[in-house]
């Protein structure tokens, strides 16, 4: 089966927030740091949202979980923690 992207998401103009996983983090969380280091090395594009910097982002993250990192994939799949670590 071939997936068809909506017109606005085709080609180079893909909006990062529409196509990349969202990663909710805390500034000092070791698991978050590890995820960011690994994903940067692996050139995985992600949209980081640091929840201790904004009430709106904190409230947004709490919908998914109360521990970080929280990864929300474009298909709405949610993963909490990274490689067995929680911040």
């Amino acid at each position: 089966m071939r997936s068809i992207l909506p017109r606005q998401l085709r080609g180079r103009g893909l909006a990062k927030e529409k196509t990349a996983p969202i990663v909710y983090t805390l500034a000092s969380c070791p698991a978050c740091k590890k995820l960011k280091e690994d994903w940067t090395l692996e050139k995985i594009v992600f949209d980081e949202r640091q929840v201790d910097q904004s009430q709106a982002l904190l409230d947004e993250a709490l919908v998914y979980g109360d521990m970080v990192p929280i990864v929300v994939y474009p298909d709405k799949r949610v993963e909490i923690g990274y490689k067995g670590m929680i911040g």
Binding site: Q53, Q55, D66
Partner: protein
């Protein structure tokens, strides 16, 4: 942790923030800290008991709190400890945990968890007395019961909806958990100081 090796010296203690100064520099949940400051209460009898202990030689003249602003246990608990300090004349100093891990590491929950809030009582010359972690036993018991109720009544909830339902049912209990905190802290200090 021994007194000889602790990082909490009188000079370090003095670097902590007052409740008011802490609130002025946090970025999230300021309204919640204020709301739970309003709902926290220390009765006349409890205040008298705390005052009596603070006045004792070796009594809890100072209290250190480790916490982070995003944590519900902290925005519910720190205001309670602040009210206890205000009612009894304790000097309170707040330390953000993640910027003070050397202090946190002296008080790990079960030797491994950086649980917050962690509340540490000291004498006026900053000698360790005792410490209290996270939330009262009453809150843990109620939370466990509510968890079981939600699982039984709504077994098909997904994780997100389960969390939302838990928040909906536990948040109204926060003032009662604050009252339980005052009682538990009072009992802890009385037991440690052998006050009848």
């Amino acid at each position: 942790m021994t007194q000889a090796t602790t990082v909490v010296t009188p000079a370090r203690f003095a670097k902590g923030l007052s409740f008011k100064d802490y609130l002025s520099q946090i970025k999230v949940n300021k309204d919640k800290f204020e709301e739970y400051y309003t709902s926290a209460a220390v009765s006349r009898d409890e205040a008298a008991s705390f005052k009596k202990m603070v006045a004792m030689p070796g009594g809890p003249a100072k209290v250190l709190v480790l916490g982070e602003d995003w944590c519900p246990d902290v925005y519910r608990g720190l205001p309670v400890i602040t009210k206890i300090a205000e009612a009894s004349g304790m000097e309170l100093r707040m330390f953000p945990r993640d910027a003070n891990l050397d202090i946190m590491n002296e008080f790990l929950n079960q030797g491994q968890f950086q649980s917050i809030p962690t509340v540490v009582f000291y004498t006026k010359d900053v000698k360790y007395i005792t410490h209290w972690i996270e939330r009262p036993a009453f809150a843990n018991e109620e939370r466990a019961k509510i968890t079981e109720q939600v699982k039984k009544e709504m077994p098909s909830l997904n994780d997100q909806d389960f969390r939302a339902e838990m928040r909906k049912r536990t948040t109204p209990r926060y003032p009662a958990w604050q009252q339980a905190t005052v009682k538990e802290v009072q009992q802890l200090l009385a037991k440690t100081l052998q006050v009848k």
